[in-house]
């Protein structure tokens, strides 16, 4: 069960001077139960790719298939397929329109005709997975705190019970604590078997958290793999706009002095191997 993107291309404004090739042949596989990060500089095509996963954009060339269904072959069932892939936009709280948080969360399942007992279950599940304070369900979504608003926005997408969750720059505008909580939330829905796709330009966060990373540069997927192999790649051939995290650069420096460690090793591992090498405490 996976989303398979292959050789995807997308050009905006074809035939005008503003023509812009956002994707120029990108391939990636997103398995359920995996956390995939898409990293790249601003304008590298991340959001365009994210919108293809949710079928807001359809392939101009190349293909996207969701759990084995090629979306261009099944154009009549777009709505059905779209329900499987929840998309959380950047600043999702800007989509709020309803009078209460509950209405906001019920919007998606109602759109797919869910009612009664099942609707309540959807809301309850969404509130639980998003960590939203259930006491706020009756409040005005515009009046609750920033952190809770982001959770309510997540709940309003989780309530459609998607199999995949795509988040476009979900950490934008959150403080460090907010980012940590959001990451825990993403890890827990991943562990429940959902496929999680995180679009970000924060390489450090992606290396530390995801199962697989796709690196985009000017619309081309330059490398894709687990954190360690992507870090190794980026060390060999730097990519526009992506800076290796300080610890990884330190480890790269240690390698030149004969201490070999994985680039994604944690602070503890680095200290241990330094102590081993020096024979004393550092």
């Amino acid at each position: 069960m996976s989303i398979v993107v292959s050789e995807l291309r997308h050009t905006y404004n074809e035939g005008t001077p503003a023509r812009s090739e956002a994707l120029r042949g990108v391939s990636v596989v997103i398995e359920r139960g995996q956390w995939v990060s898409i990293v790249g500089h601003t304008g590298s095509g991340k959001s365009t790719l994210a919108q293809h996963l949710n079928l807001l954009l359809l392939p101009q060339s190349g293909s996207v298939s969701i759990d084995g269904t090629d979306v261009t072959r099944d154009a009549k069932n777009l709505r059905g397929l779209r329900r499987r892939v929840g998309l959380v936009f950047q600043y999702p709280e800007q989509q709020f329109f309803a009078e209460t948080v509950r209405d906001e969360i019920e919007f998606a399942p109602l759109n797919w005709g869910v009612t009664g007992r099942e609707l309540d279950e959807c809301v309850e599940m969404a509130v639980r997975s998003s960590g939203l304070d259930p006491a706020l369900l009756g409040s005005n979504p515009f009046a609750i705190s920033g952190g809770q608003r982001r959770r309510a926005a997540l709940a309003s997408v989780l309530s459609m019970r998607p199999d995949y969750l795509v988040l476009d720059e979900p950490t934008a505008g959150l403080d460090a604590a907010g980012i940590r909580e959001l990451r825990q939330l993403m890890a827990s829905v991943r562990d429940e078997g959902m496929g999680v796709v995180q679009v970000t330009h924060d390489l450090e966060g992606a290396l530390a958290n995801s199962d697989r990373i796709l690196v985009l540069e000017r619309g081309v997927g330059v490398t894709c793999g687990d954190a360690e192999s992507v870090a190794e790649y980026l060390l060999r051939s730097p990519v526009q706009g992506l800076l290796m995290p300080p610890l990884a650069r330190f480890i790269a420096g240690l390698r030149e002095r004969g201490i070999h460690l994985p680039l994604t090793a944690g602070v503890g591992d680095v200290i241990n191997s330094l102590e081993e090498r020096l024979g004393c405490e550092v």
């Binding site: 404004n13 005008t16 807001l56 919007f107 759109n111």
Partner: protein, 276 residues
């Protein structure tokens, strides 16, 4: 797929072509000459000649012919109605009769002329807007209106208001597109149901849009005030408009072309005709 990505209402498309670099005053004057010229055209042959202009424009501005023609799409319905009315209600030499409806030779020429005129009108206006940034456009208009300013009308405030309004159109499209997409991905359906249901389905788009627009407006006002904008105070320009040789050349060429077509129409194709 409902999306505003490819909307072609003659929005500004940034570029660096010859047409883009012309002085906005030149382009505004040229557009008015074109509109005046259009209403002097009466023979179908004139319109064949007029077709040269969009083609030339396409070459010089790097905009594809399809994009230019698409800007006429919103008025296709209006054009069709005009053609239809003129076709059936113009008296003259009858050539076809279906029941009470009669089609005359005069009807055909008038209908085709009217339809083409309307279509060209929209395309010419779109050509101006596609190659002139809102900033340039309102600067050009402000300068062209400055004689009226001496009479005491607030021309520069009017131009500033227009700049802001025009400046916000693309932003508004972007925001609408984003909110539409966000609600579609939450399953919103804008295409089914009756009129009322469909109108209601836009509430989830309009409410967030209003909230955003008000926030933006407030930010903009703060930003303008913090940089000491005060209405009525005289302002200078960072990039003063410069009328270059090419602007004069463009105006002269276009004027000659229009004059030639009108002369051809009046002198060769059958004398002075009343405006139809």
């Amino acid at each position: 797929m409902r999306s505003l990505n490819n909307i072609s209402l003659g929005q500004f498309i940034p570029g660096d072509s010859l047409i883009h670099r012309l002085d906005p005053r030149c382009k505004i004057v040229c557009t008015f000459m074109l509109l005046a010229g259009l209403f002097m055209a009466s023979e179908p042959l004139d319109f064949v000649l007029w077709c040269a202009l969009p083609c030339l424009f396409s070459r010089l501005s790097g905009t594809s012919m399809t994009t230019i023609l698409k800007t006429g799409r919103p008025v296709v319905f209006l054009v069709a109605v005009t053609v239809f009315i003129n076709l059936l209600w113009t008296p003259g030499h009858e050539i076809l009769r279906i029941g009470p409806l009669r089609v005359t030779w005069e009807g055909i020429t008038v209908a085709v002329g009217m339809g083409l005129r309307l279509f060209f009108l929209v395309i010419f206006a779109a050509m101006l807007m596609m190659t002139t940034s809102p900033m340039d456009f309102s600067a050009g208009l402000e300068r062209l209106m400055s004689p009226i300013g001496r009479l005491g009308l607030p021309t520069s405030e009017m131009a500033m208001m227009m700049t802001i309004a025009l400046r916000f159109i693309p932003t508004l499209f972007e925001e609408t597109d984003r909110i539409l997409k966000a609600q579609i991905s939450r399953g919103a359906d804008f295409d089914s149901g009756g009129l009322i249901r469909r109108a209601r389905s836009f509430v989830p788009v309009l409410v967030p849009l209003f909230v955003l627009v008000f926030l933006r407006a407030e930010n903009l006002a703060t930003a303008m005030e913090s940089r000491c904008y005060s209405p009525g105070a005289p302002r200078t320009r960072l990039h003063p408009l410069r009328w270059a040789a090419r602007d004069s050349v463009a105006v002269i060429c276009l004027f000659s072309f229009i004059a030639a077509v009108v002369a051809l129409d009046r002198l060769v194709l059958g004398g002075v005709r009343p405006f139809r």
